[in-house]
Amino acid sequence: MTDLLDSLLGGLALGAVYALVALGFVVIFKASGVLNFAHGSLLLFGGYLVAVLHDDLGFAGALALAVVVTAALAGALDRFLLQRGGHDAHSAHVQTIVTIGIDIVLLTELARRIGGDLLTLGDPWGDAVTELGPVTVADSRLAAIAVSAVVITGVFALFRFTSWGLSLRAAAEDMEAAALMGVRLGRVRAGAWCLAGALAALAAVFLAAFPAPGLERTTGQIALNAFPAAILGGLASPTGALAGSLVIGLTEALVVGYQSELHVLGEGFGDVAPYAVMLLVLLVRPNGLFGAKGAARV
């Protein structure tokens, strides 16, 4: 029973972190129709900044700076590279592949700098744990859940109540009509990329915190697991991304928790379980759980 609770809580924390990343995917996709393959390296970039800066600025200062710089980088990538390609559906496809190119360059550079090292981020939780009734939880996981909840609520409020959020939703609905109504697509897009970059930098901290050993060159790859999360929910739906992230996080934690019972599937199946779940869902619902089937006109 404690095992189950343990796994559930761990899954919840993991899902919360995935949600930060997946929400980034969704925001970018809504604003620009682009699936950002460079998200993993943006995340790694944010984490790397925190790791390098925390000695001088302290954890909070380093995190704040990393969030701002990563947001600026993401915004700049969109504004100065991707937006050259235009705003229509075909160029969104092309820009998706451009992000793969950006990812290759960024990831190679970061991997070269990090090398084989494990970087600590100097986070205040360390390896402290809290007793919650029968289960023991790492403080970093509780922090992940709490921070994600607050930030995600904030992002949803941003969608709902600000004029930027309104522009974003209008652009996602129909880019051309939104542009005719005076929505500045370029700015809305760049804003969305900034937001996604900030979320990615924040997620990096929790992905590298205890019980993970620290920030490595492969941390960005873990963020790829948020892809299935975003797809599961349907790429254009923030609520879906949230639900998808929880499903993926819980699946991963449960598979790892019950590994001995699941040994038929092989060691380390937890790492690939999200993809198995995604395939199953796509078989039944090709547009994701919350995705609407698009109506097409010629």
Binding site: D88, R112, A179, F269, L279, V298
Partner: protein
């Protein structure tokens, strides 16, 4: 008019013959290093042509190519080896290709219905799940350390270094022999793929890419064509996998990761989407670049020799910077890739050479596919 066409045809055939002879020469003059670059490039080109059929023609984004390469490579190794059925190697090659096609077919419930970007992510799943299986199913795949690949033998002729074969005074080792096998397989790929693109299903796929709804209205069975494109593309990948396995002589799971899939995507993007020649050029570029940079690292500025001090820009990194940047630049500034650049250069040359052409000889070049695929311009 008709004799002009025959002249053109014989001219074509002569060019083809010259190219074929030129391609047969390297084993007599170059050493094993260059031959290996050529071999890997040919294998990559076969795989890239398959991906170009899928992504460039059918408009489907696939990141699962590494998985199908792995099916081909491991399929051959298992079918021809021990443990495994131990079939004759000449039989194992086509069977491995069919296996890759079958794997693509099994994926067709997803590949037929999921489109574009969604398919890209769905195929991502194949790479990760496939890698996991390669590591886990040790009795078939040999686990983390992989398996050694039995050399191919065709009617008593074995593609390895044994036997001390000498052709025209040149000792023929494994690389020299495999070069000709690679050439034959590549020629097969080149002609089948070009034929396929010009055939009825090829045109149906192009229609599908440009507008799914319009194609469906014209009577194209959307799901069936999408899955068929996926199966054909995975069969080419399987063939490439077999050739790679023969060239490497050992297959290991870590080679067939996400990076490999991204490499293949880079090849077709740099070469120009939807063209066989472009995919080939892209494959040679992406494959040869890191190998050449490793070889000449000490002579290149800004590049450190492999294995030197931590944090220096090694040849592998430098190559990756270059082709990452190449993807970005090609897509933003020359969306039809190397193929498009070459065609534009050729058109300009031709125009300069014959400033006043008679209207019946001036063959209008077809519009670039990227322009045809663009449904509307950016309005705001």
């Amino acid at each position: 008019m008709s004799d002009r066409i025959t002249a053109l045809l014989t001219h074509r055939r002569a060019t083809l013959l010259v190219v074929a002879v030129l391609l047969c020469l390297p084993p007599f003059y170059l050493d094993a290093f260059w031959l290996r670059i050529g071999l890997f490039s040919m294998a990559a080109a076969i795989g890239a042509v398959g991906l170009a059929l899928l992504s460039g023609t059918a408009g489907q984004l696939s990141l699962g190519h590494a998985f199908f390469l792995a099916v081909g490579a491991y399929g051959y190794t298992w079918l021809a080896g021990d443990p495994g059925p131990g079939l004759p190697t000449a039989l194992a090659v086509p069977l491995a290709v069919l296996m890759a096609g079958l794997a693509g077919g099994l994926f067709s419930p997803v590949a037929g219905r999921v489109k574009g970007i969604y398919l890209g992510i769905a195929t991502l799943a194949l790479v990760f799940l496939g890698h996991h299986v390669l590591l886990t199913a040790e009795s078939v795949t040999g686990g983390f350390n992989g398996r050694s690949v039995p050399p191919l033998s065709l009617g008593g002729f074995t593609f390895d270094s044994d036997g001390g074969l000498n052709v025209l005074g040149v000792p023929f080792g494994a690389e020299e022999r495999l070069w000709f096998l690679g050439l034959a397989l590549f020629a097969l790929t080149w002609f089948t793929a070009r034929g396929l693109l010009r055939s009825r299903p090829g045109r149906a796929l192009a229609a599908l890419r440009d507008s799914e709804t319009a194609a469906a209205v014209m009577g194209v069975d959307v799901a069936r064509h999408r899955s068929a494109a996926f199966v054909v593309s995975s069969m080419y990948a399987g063939l490439a996998g077999v050739l790679l396995a023969l060239a490497f002589r050992r297959v290991v799971p870590d080679y067939f990761g996400l990076v490999l899939s991204v490499d293949y995507l880079a090849m077709i993007v740099i070469g120009g989407l939807g063209s066989v020649a472009g995919a080939t050029a892209g494959a040679v570029f992406v494959t040869a670049l890191p190998l050449l940079m490793t070889r000449y690292a000490d002579q290149l500025p800004l590049v450190a020799a492999p294995g030197s001090a931590d944090g220096a820009v090694g040849p592998t990194e430098a190559a990756r910077y270059l082709y990452g940047a190449a993807i970005v630049l090609v897509l933003l500034y020359a969306p039809d890739g190397l193929h498009g650049l070459a065609r534009r250069a050729r058109d300009r040359l031709r125009r300069r050479r014959t400033p006043t052409t008679a209207p019946d000889t001036a063959v209008p070049s077809p519009p670039p596919p990227a322009a045809a695929a663009r449904p509307k311009e950016h309005t705001p």
